[in-house]
Chain length 342, copies 2
């Protein structure tokens, strides 16, 4: 019997009832679920409830909140994974609280300095395989050896979970030439060029994110967070403007009606709910951050991602790949301090 | 009689003939032009030609190229501005070569450590005033005092050239709270909060770029370049996908035809050619970088921007505003080294 996925019922914009809706979808598919949320929830058979009325909001300082609230839903859920009562952790709440709770409870994997948040970006016009983009915001200040590890973590994740056998890995920079970019990016580029155990294809620029040239794109968590939100904001602004244009008069409205079915496919192919959120790589367990604005289907997809990562032994296989590549050993040698900045 | 604008005829993807086309448009409006380009060009009366067959390509290392090629078109054009024979510099060639040539010939303005490249981003659905976004790529490694100066430079530029009286200035970061972001951004935020002579409104995130909440958004040149290209690439990918959807079948095609006039307005409102390129702020003269993929109208708009900045005395007024705000004096005090990087 498989262990249940620990699902934080708090934190989604739609509230605990929406998370429960998502849980029903995956429970019906045979994925066992343990919900951590309000005692007022009334889950159907097949979904366990670990009742708690405490939770951590977006405005709380993550480290202080996780330390002072042992009964907060995300802290209890992370502890259940660490204890071996649950297989993996999923939350749509505060990303900072989730990362902190996961890091404290699950610990970093052997040789990993900094866990990184890997987002999956839907690529319009692709075969459905999303782009893996990290770090999406876990580490705002990094050194070159962190970027190098992120590259190996992203590459190793692609194989078991996305089925990409020999993923193409690129660094995000301001030009394709090796010497272009911030000093840490130039240094990481040099170290990754010709490195064994990874298919490093060089730098890519912001305009190439959706081009399909790479399977994994690596950057620091500050640039990654800003870039990801720019991408989402721009896609939304253009889509809104198209919608406004299609309401700007009777002729345009008729055109919009005829075009709607074809645009619906595009909207679905770009929907962040379709890819199930971001996964925290470099831990001794599986932790998935769902969008705060998730639909029930978005929650279900986040749980499916966690479940698949567990079944495919993503953590163990990532560890083996990292060890084989010698990436952790080499990078550790350069680490001036052994402490992770959350 | 106004001095001519020094226009580099090389470097546009469309070649010198396209640049000449752009020159014709503005010459017809009464803006005098001096072209620096191939002797084979045959400009009409009203456009002077300073013939040279040397130029600097995108692949060249900017500092080495500018030093070793005194007859390259962009170097000659920058020298003409420094000598007082031309009013301002416009080039659609290598941004690095242009910035280097301008920095060497025109010099930094009093108290400015690092000139910054200010892009103008069309905001769909706005009144037509673009967002000023800097640094778009001049400085990939910055310190907090550079971000502070960029904020004052962007703010000062808005008034004379865009007519925005009391521009709202924001820092780009990963969250709106002051403590969120990379260490240099947090420090700049603290210094700008309550600073005199600037209307600092706090942090904005990547998803807010096109929201219209700020008139000026400030970041380092690495994040700025990546963000700007992500924005352009995403807008293009979504627009391409809408176009593909509108060709996906007879019903959709009919809808696309009916919608086309309305979408044309949107395309024009988001066209980077409409805003005339990016201006290098913090020099003792006006230098404008046009898009490499400029149309003749894009070249014309870049020249109009340069001409307007000269007529409005943007450089002098920016200097007065910086001095009045005490920004240069305070920031200079903290500058450990007086030399600009490249």
């Amino acid at each position: 019997m498989a262990l249940p996925v620990a699902l934080d019922a708090y934190g989604a914009d739609g509230g605990p009832d929406l998370v429960l809706e998502g849980a029903r979808i995956v429970a019906a598919e045979g994925i066992p679920i343990r919900l951590f949320g309000p005692s007022s929830l009334d889950p159907p058979p097949g979904i366990e409830l670990d009742p708690t009325n405490e939770w951590i909001g977006n405005e709380a300082e993550p480290v202080a909140a996780v330390r002072s609230k042992p009964d907060a839903s995300v802290v209890r859920a992370a502890a259940a994974v660490a204890d071996g009562r649950c297989s993996s952790l999923v939350s749509a709440g505060s990303t900072g609280a989730m990362m902190t709770a996961a890091l404290f409870a699950l610990k970093r994997a052997q040789g990993v300095h900094r866990p990184a948040l890997a987002a999956q970006i839907p690529v319009p016009g692709s075969d459905g395989t999303p782009l893996v983009f990290l770090d999406a915001g876990a580490n705002t200040d990094v050194r070159p050896q962190h970027l190098i590890q992120f590259a190996f973590l992203g590459s190793a994740f692609c194989r078991p979970v996305l089925g990409v056998e020999d993923p193409r890995v690129a660094l995000l920079s301001v030009g394709e030439e090796q010497k272009k970019g911030r000093a840490d990016v130039v240094e990481a580029h040099e170290a990754l060029t010709g490195a064994e155990g990874i298919r490093f294809i060089g730098n890519l620029e912001g305009r190439d994110l959706l081009s399909g040239e790479a399977d994994v794109i690596v950057t620091d968590g500050f640039t990654g967070n800003v870039t990801l939100k720019t991408l989402e904001g721009t896609a939304r602004a253009v889509a809104d403007a198209v919608r406004a244009a299609a309401r700007s008069g009777p002729v345009a409205s008729a055109g919009g009606l005829l075009l709607r079915p074809a645009l619906g496919g595009l909207r679905r192919s770009m929907d962040p709910n379709a890819v199930g959120g971001a996964i925290l790589l470099g831990l001794r367990g599986v932790a998935v951050v769902a969008h705060g604005s998730s639909t029930p289907e978005g929650i279900a997809n986040a749980v499916r991602l966690a479940d698949q990562a567990v079944r495919e032994r993503a953590v163990e296989r990532t560890g083996e790949l990292l060890a084989a590549a010698g990436a952790t050993r080499d990078a550790l040698r350069e680490e001036p301090s052994g402490t992770a900045e959350r």
